[in-house]
């Protein structure tokens, strides 16, 4: 019933697509075309999901540790600075936390090891950074005498939860006794190997700058445009304040990721174009098969544009079936890629993602519906371009020759 309500060119295309009178050979060629489109689309979906997943994870890692925007002062920041109020009032700023980094020493080990002491506010830091999520063992500090240490540092120096340590600095030679309550693994080497996380007051004491901090970290609301907020604040704050955002902290990694993403998409898009070209070839074969029908349609008074439409729509049907199948396959594989990898690991005994190398024990995946819509639109446009010639050829067939054909 639905078919009856469609324009006749679409009805005829559907009839041609499923017709039992079409040669078996042409049905096989059509099926191959659909499979080609489906596999190309599936590959695009999987690559997009993985690349977007990596980008998302990288962003989470960078913003998790460094926050969205960081503000420093040419000297040190006073916590009573009115600038903090200005920043806090920005509608896109969700939370702010102060930090202070000071060079110091810690023992054990013996002799004392040089460390960077990162002072944070244990209460507000979890609202801005994801450091709390990086605690691998132990717990988040709740007392000014608690500290966190990096996984590699702990392993190297034989420290563990409950270890008593002393920290001191050139500005504060008297050692301060602290207790290790948590071990963190951020994936950022310098944090994992050489940082000790203390409360803000401890770091301020070691720096000899009470009530002062080095940096304010800003978390923005999810829908905020980091660049826009950065620019607005940059314009509002005097030149003595120095601002960075998470993208400017690791431009090389982001550029590399973007380049890799682009290259992969170009390669797979070329494969998709070949598959769509294959649809064009299939259509040409189809036009040859339907030559007599085309002649009859012309003799019945079908307009050339109608014939052209029938075959363009036919190409779009073939592509759309491949597109839908490809999207389903691609999304299913993307969704279950980690269980599939685990299966391969189990079957072959080869660990494909050694976390010592990649710091990831699973492939990050993020589905991108907007991207899929763009891929679908691009595929349809390319199909129309590829179907144009066979459809034009069909429309311009000599009706007398076509009727006499076969």
């Amino acid at each position: 019933m639905i078919k009856q309500r469609l324009p006749y060119s679409i009805q005829l295309s559907l009839t041609y697509l499923w017709s039992q009178t079409t040669h078996r050979f042409i049905r096989v060629v059509t099926a191959i075309s659909i499979a080609g489109i489906a596999l190309s689309i599936a590959a695009i979906v999987i690559i997009m999901a993985i690349m977007d997943g990596f980008a998302h994870t990288l962003k989470q890692q960078l913003t998790g540790i460094h926050a969205d925007i960081q503000i420093e002062h040419i000297k040190a920041l006073d916590l009573s600075d009115p600038m903090i109020q200005t920043v806090d009032q920005h509608p896109s700023v969700a939370a702010i936390t102060p930090t202070l980094t000071v060079a110091g020493f810690m023992q054990p080990p013996h002799p004392p090891s040089f460390v960077s002491i990162l002072g944070i506010d244990f209460t507000s830091d979890p609202t801005v950074t994801t450091l709390i999520d990086q605690v691998q063992s132990g717990h988040w500090p709740t007392h000014p005498h608690h500290v966190l240490i990096g996984q590699s540092f702990a392993d190297y120096h034989g420290l563990s939860i409950g270890s008593q340590v002393h920290v001191h600095s050139p500005n504060h030679p008297q050692p301060l006794a602290r207790t290790v309550v948590g071990v963190i693994h951020t994936g950022v080497q310098r944090l994992d190997t050489g940082h000790v996380v203390t409360d803000l007051a401890t770091a301020q004491a070691l720096a000899g700058t009470p009530d002062r901090v080095h940096q304010l970290k800003l978390r923005l609301i999810p829908e905020a445009d980091v660049h826009a907020v950065y620019t607005t604040l940059r314009d509002q704050l005097p030149d003595a304040y120095w601002m960075t955002h998470w993208m400017s902290l690791n431009p090389v990694a982001l550029r590399a990721l973007r380049l890799e993403h682009t290259v992969m998409m170009v390669i797979v898009s070329l494969i998709l174009l070949m598959a769509i070209g294959n649809v064009g070839t299939t259509l040409l074969i189809h036009v040859l098969d339907k030559t007599q029908s085309i002649g009859l349609l012309r003799a019945m008074g079908a307009r050339p544009a109608f014939i052209q439409r029938v075959f363009i729509v036919h190409g779009l049907f073939v592509t759309t079936i491949g597109l839908i199948v490809g999207l389903i396959i691609g999304m299913a594989i993307s969704q279950y890629i980690n269980p599939l990898l685990a299966l391969v690991d189990h079957a072959t005994g080869i660990h494909l993602l050694p976390d010592k190398i990649y710091y990831l024990d699973r492939i990050p995946v993020q589905l991108n519906p907007t991207g899929y819509i763009l891929v679908a639109l691009g595929t349809w446009v390319a199909t129309i371009l590829c179907a144009w010639y066979p459809a034009k050829k069909a429309a311009s067939l000599d009706p007398v020759a076509a009727v006499s054909h076969g």
Partner: protein
């Protein structure tokens, strides 16, 4: 006024090597049957193709209700064919993908017009095809297919009905039925019927007979 006029139509094949028609003219009036006779290869089918808007003559013109058929845009010509010209080809020419009913109704569907179901049922009954309305053309005999093609051609109440050897695949009973239908169309509608045939029985029903003998070289 004549429904269709052919003025000095000439047509060549093989890049002018062989002439099939040479300055041929004819006028086809309402309520008339014109039969075109002649030996095989003398250009009977070519005349019908030229008259039906399917084959652009090398020279000359064809006027439908006074307007040139070949000086229209391809879309205008297609619309003229759809609304004014009915074709019955030498071979049963049905679209194999469509049912009998869909084949008959196709002219209406091409112009998004409602199909005359009652009339289709009437002609299917007349030609003893009522049981085949949903059948695939592949299941029909040659004669049945030819009758379906004939219903398709006449259903549209065309200005011109062009029949190329319409009884070639029919037995005597069906030939008589088809000739009755042609007479009915001639009497009841202002249609000009043109029949190309080498069957003497068919040639007799023509009000006018055009003999293409001798064949041009």
């Amino acid at each position: 006024m004549a429904n269709l006029i052919a003025t000095a139509v000439s047509h060549t094949f093989n890049n002018g090597q062989s002439w099939v028609l040479d300055t041929w003219s004819g006028s086809f009036n309402p309520h008339t049957i014109t039969t075109i006779t002649g030996p095989s290869g003398c250009g009977k089918s070519t005349v019908l193709h030229c008259l039906g808007g399917l084959l652009t003559p090398t020279r000359g013109d064809v006027l439908l209700h006074g307007d040139s058929l070949y000086r229209r845009t391809p879309t205008q010509r297609a619309d003229a064919i759809n609304q004014h010209i009915g074709f019955v080809f030498q071979r049963a020419s049905l679209l194999p993908e469509l049912s009998v009913w869909d084949n008959i109704a196709i002219k209406y569907r091409l112009r998004n017009a409602p199909e005359p179901s009652a009339m289709i049922d009437h002609w299917l009954t007349v030609f003893q095809l009522s049981n085949f309305r949903d059948a695939s053309p592949a299941t029909l005999s040659g004669g049945q297919g030819h009758r379906v093609a004939f219903i398709r051609a006449l259903l549209n109440t065309p200005t011109v009905l062009l029949c190329d050897e319409p009884t070639g695949n029919l037995d005597d009973a069906n030939t008589a039925c088809l000739l009755d239908a042609i007479q009915t169309i001639r009497t009841e509608t202002p249609c000009a019927v043109v029949i190309a045939t080498h069957d003497a029985r068919i040639a007799q029903i023509g009000d006018t007979t055009v003999d293409l003998t001798p064949c041009p070289q």
